[in-house]
Symmetry: C2
Subunit: 720 residues, 2 copies
């Protein structure tokens, strides 16, 4: 079996949010949520643009959703044909091979089948082929156009709409905050005659086709939709119009073909083949599809939001997910994308320097939720209390200081895996040094001993705010200082270059401190080989996850912070000590990993999609393959099954889960295959789960394309 299809039969409006995520089409520039063409804004349809942000009033800044240009509505004998909740008359699927969304609906008098894609060949384009099978004679009206009925979480964001009709329908508008033009254009081609007119109302601009239809007829319409913004080109509207016209001239099939070719190339470089379990194989394909679909291939310096392009959740912001969860698949398969993710951090260094200064520190304190230019999108209030409806002060923005170390970690990994130091030369070294400087200024030295604490932080487990000596954070900081010091060896042949960089940064005094402080950073307390997640962790109430869950008074209430049910207990949101062990495997023995795994896993809610993957990776390490498999499936199936947490307090947090998508690759590659790079050379340490008999995937290490193959007999790395 070679199944690439994520399928769903039936229509249920209450699944709309979840289905829109699972059936997402995207190309890194924009995402089109997987809803049928005619879906109203109650079904959360959206065309979400990457890297275009806007603030409405005093609400959170979030990405802009463009008008929806593949809006198609059908009337039969004057009746609008609308989806009704039914298990039989509707089916949708996503073909993950090429990112094709298809739907098929039996409306009674007509049957509709359509296919669409967001072009991987031209990032501004999306196209839809809409086919109507007539079952009964009658009068048919088809409305095709650009809908401006936009679903926003914190909007509206677009103003001063300008509509134009003619051969090309266009809508352009500007954003409220930064006056960015968002221009959209649509063309349609049809294989049938019809009376054609245009209509414009408050909800958009449309072309209307009318004709009498006969039972047995098949009518096909193709729609092409283009989006440009003034961030892309000065005259976005002309560019959008031109893009559409070219696409229409080429025709749907030709556009589809170049799109599929582009996907073939992507898959050739990254596709994992997993044999032995069909559900797992499909889940991995869906995961890889979702992560590949949102990679910023069109951009030189861009990162990926934590919910990808599936909507405005989490402010469309870039989190540590980029460096820790997305980066590994890309650096091993498409290093130019990994490079783009990191260039984004290099270019947004000024924002990080500014944020550190705002808090009274030196160096680079990266945004927890980074938007364009490195602006901090995270506010002081990220949760709404379900009992009082008041915003709750959270400390993600100010205390989750591991973010700077995570970036330095990825920069260092990029060098280790690609062997390419140019990124360090082009600003990466500077970023590492400024991150290290931030930690020097953030350190809490004891005045009566040489110990250095990092107090008042939040680690990966966000349920425990404002803790001291979070083991993960301290380790990330130690590694950051080491990575700064390692620059001396990496650039041993260019000592002048490093010296001049240090001089430019006025880094002399800090350089002297690096080695000294690194050795003084507190090590976490241990109890029976279990590392305390932070100082005092073992003093917290030790109760079961079920017990903590039973204390909820409202299913939507926030678990974290001092008011949350978990905050005063040992129950954690996600891998923390275990994430450290997964990221720094060589620092810990198998025995340590085993002891910590057994302690922390039952105390972990896995309330974040970043959690299971770390537990799975470490489970492979210690040979606990049943758990590894369970957690691999949990990770890989997250966007197959849909669901997941949709609410944090009263805030909608639904969307796709790119971190889990990346995590699935990590578990297979780094866990099942045991891939790592040591001294510039790839190694494998296979741990194939009993459910599988073969795992095969391409990688690129130090510029060389290789194939890893793991079977029950063992593993090998093949040259091409």
């Amino acid at each position: 079996m070679n199944n690439w299809l994520l399928q769903k039969n039936g229509w249920n409006e209450q699944d709309a949010a979840s289905d829109g995520n699972r059936f997402l089409c995207a190309n890194g520039y924009m995402g089109l949520r997987g809803m049928p063409e005619e879906a109203s804004s109650a079904c959360f349809p959206a065309v979400t643009l990457a890297g275009v942000y806007d603030q409405y009033q005093h609400r959170w800044r979030e990405p802009v959703n463009a008008p929806r240009g593949l809006f198609i509505r059908l009337f039969f004998d004057g009746q609008s044909l609308a989806l009704k909740d039914t298990p039989e008359k509707h089916a949708a699927e996503l073909d993950c091979r090429w990112g094709l969304y298809r739907r098929e609906t039996d409306f009674g008098p007509v049957q509709v089948r359509s296919e669409r894609f967001v072009s991987m060949a031209d990032c501004h384009l999306m196209a839809d082929q809409y086919r109507i099978q007539v079952r009964q004679d009658g009068d048919m009206t088809l409305q095709v156009g650009i809908s401006t009925d936009i679903w926003d979480i914190n909007g509206p964001h677009l103003f001063n709409f300008l509509f134009q009709t003619g051969e090309t329908l266009t809508v352009d508008a500007i954003t409220g905050e930064k006056k960015i033009t968002v221009a959209t254009a649509q063309e349609a081609a049809r294989d049938f005659d019809a009376d054609e007119s245009e209509c414009r109302d408050a909800s958009g601009v449309y072309r209307v086709f009318r004709r009498a239809v006969r039972k047995g007829e098949t009518l096909t319409l193709s729609a092409f939709f283009a989006v440009y913004t003034s961030l892309d080109v000065p005259d976005a509207l002309s560019a959008a119009r031109m893009c559409c016209r070219k696409a229409k001239a080429a025709g749907y099939s030709a556009c589809l073909q170049v799109h599929k070719d582009a996907w073939e190339q992507i898959r050739a470089r990254s596709e994992m083949t997993l044999e032995g379990d069909d559900a797992a194989a499909l889940a991995l394909r869906v995961s890889q599809y979702h992560l590949n679909a949102i990679a910023p291939r069109h951009a030189h310096s861009m990162s990926i939001p934590a919910r990808g392009l599936s909507g405005q959740t989490y402010k469309g912001a870039v989190f540590w997910d980029s460096e820790i969860f997305f980066f590994p698949m890309f650096v091993y398969t498409q290093p130019e994308i990994a490079r783009s993710l990191l260039r984004y951090r290099i270019e947004t260094l000024p924002g990080a320097l500014k944020k550190a200064a705002e808090y009274g520190y030196r160096g680079a304190f990266y945004a927890w939720e980074s938007q364009e230019g490195g602006e901090e999108g995270c506010t002081n209030f990220n949760v709404v209390d379900v009992f009082t409806h008041r915003p709750v002060r959270t400390y993600f923005r100010d205390k989750q200081i591991h973010i700077s170390g995570d970036i330095a970690y990825a920069l260092r990994s990029y060098y280790d895996i690609t062997g390419d130091r140019s990124l360090l030369e082009e600003g990466g070294a500077k970023v590492i040094l400024e991150c290290a400087r931030f930690y020097l200024s953030r350190a809490n030295g004891h005045v009566d001993s040489r110990a250095v604490d990092f107090a008042d932080v939040i680690g990966p487990d966000e349920y425990h705010e404002r803790v001291t000596n979070n083991a993960f954070t301290n380790q990330m900081i130690r590694h950051c200082l080491e990575s700064a010091l390692a620059l001396e060896e990496i650039f041993a042949d260019r000592p002048g270059w490093l010296a001049s960089l240090l001089a430019d940064l006025h880094y002399e005094a800090d350089w002297q401190l690096l080695a000294d402080v690194r050795g003084r950073i507190a090590r976490a307390a241990e109890q029976n080989g279990v590392i305390a997640q932070f100082d005092g962790y073992f003093d917290l109430e030790d109760c079961s996850l079920d017990e903590v869950r039973s204390r909820l008074r409202d299913p939507r209430e926030y678990w974290g912070g001092d008011h949350g049910v978990a905050g005063t207990t040992q129950i954690i949101k996600q891998a923390d000590v275990i994430a450290m062990m997964a990221l720094f495997p060589e620092q810990f023995t198998d025995r340590q990993v085993a002891a910590n795994w057994s302690y922390y896993e039952p105390r972990t809610e896995h309330g974040s999609s970043l959690s299971a993957c770390m537990y799975a990776l470490t489970a492979c390490r210690i040979g606990n393959m049943d758990e590894a498999w369970r957690l691999f499936m949990k990770t890989a199936q997250i966007d197959v099954l849909g669901g997941g947490k949709q609410w944090a307090g009263e805030i909608y947090i639904g969307g796709t889960h790119p971190a889990a998508n990346g995590g699935a690759w990590m578990i297979a590659a780094l866990g099942f295959a045991g891939l790592r790079v040591r001294n510039g050379r790839p190694e494998i340490h296979p741990n194939l789960p009993r459910q599988l008999f073969r795992l095969r995937f391409p990688i690129t290490v130090a510029g060389e394309r290789l194939t890893v193959e793991i079977t029950r007999e063992g593993g090998r790395i093949l040259r091409e």
Copy 2:
């Protein structure tokens, strides 16, 4: 007018909690809440014992309430005579001159008038004279005895009750946790014939007198009640019985006389006379009465709970109120009591060392809510959320580190005002050194500069938890380190003694750090002359007190912490920067005080009785006498008017307000008279409010008894 009477007409059961506080009788050993003899436990009657604590199950530890030995109930023609809500038929008063509680009730057929006191001459004794005026012929039954129907917040605390009858009624019981015997005995004398019997039921043990009465008759009963515990003497029950018998033998009048004599002596040493405003004069008398009544005159080393002996609120624990708010009146008028308060801290040093060690620090971290032996009574959960009914994690216990400095401050003041260094020799110096050591180990040094922060603390304003560089705290710490260093000068004539103390404490390395660290402690940022209460204070939402109040969803909800309405704004609970300016007047110019006063006063909720007094003191300093007067009256009248906050979340926090009682003396003495001691000599700097024409009060400075007199013409200090 020379009014000593706090009076109230009428009976209203919903005022019972408040009236019980205002009409409290006490003698430092025990307190008797001001409720009529027959009041049921629904009226919160109690005999609260000083320094006897108990824990029931896993609830908070709190002081033990003894059985009530002056319980008297009257029946007429078989009907129990009970108080009913009425404005006319009942009156109560407290005579503050001698601590006498009187009540007068018209029950229709009889009128009852009684008087009672808790003896200042024998701390184990209380007595009641109960007089019945018969208005109508009938049958009367009088029940007199010891009720074991005890009102507890977190009880029950007494078990294994043993009842004895005979000439002396006795009840003894033991506490649940520490098995302390609480023995009570009661005797009654009467001037009328009656059939006498005894009765015992679940609610206590009683003597019952029955007789026919005639209109016009007056019957008088005297009851004597004694309490001893096994902390006082080995055979508490015999001691209690003996105490009662002696009292009965002497008679009510004789007992009253020695009690009054004792009060005369107290007043001779401390009584303030204030002329010009009768309400103010009464309020000041009530305040002085309440603070004098709870002073531990019977003990050598004992402090005073924050709610005095008015009940179990705040766990009967000793707070910084003792050193900052109670201490000044005592050190200036009855230094032996100030000495007892501080000896309590000296003797509980081991508890403070233990608490510091628990948190990973060295030195002395005193309990925020200190119980016997310096045990920390404060838990991690001190508030209950009114919406979820869940306990809320508060940080008073772990972060309110100024407590150690407050104690060092009082120790230093004791020396400065009395000129007596014996207390320093007898452990006080050691306490100061260990407190300073705690701060050395708690300091957060920057590794890249010499600056030292104190991060993650709570200042006096408890609404803002976990702040950095609270100005008050940092100043208190600086002063603590200076006080440690000053020991060298204070003991300049005994260098060997100090050297050997330092050697005993292994203090050499710390001593070297003291001066260095003191000079490195961060100074708060200023904006237009206003000192930031802590780092980032000015970045908080700046909105009005009314605005913040309007955000409450429940009148009982807690304002503080990140979830509270005040926590994320600049609204503060109580004087903080201004408290610092009041306690360290010489560190700040008049202009600084004025600028900070104007900024902070409108932003202060005065949600603590510790607040107004600090604002009043500083208002005197800057000549804002209208505000000083308003805040003096607010402070002094707090237990005249009753009221005040009765709830924090779902926790009852009512009681008397000894800190405000002490504050009233402070405003009058230190504010209106401008009293201070400089180089061992008292000085005055009068600021008499226009409402007054004379203020006169005794003080003792450097062992000499003096009288301060302030009139509109100026002030003088008179030798006796």
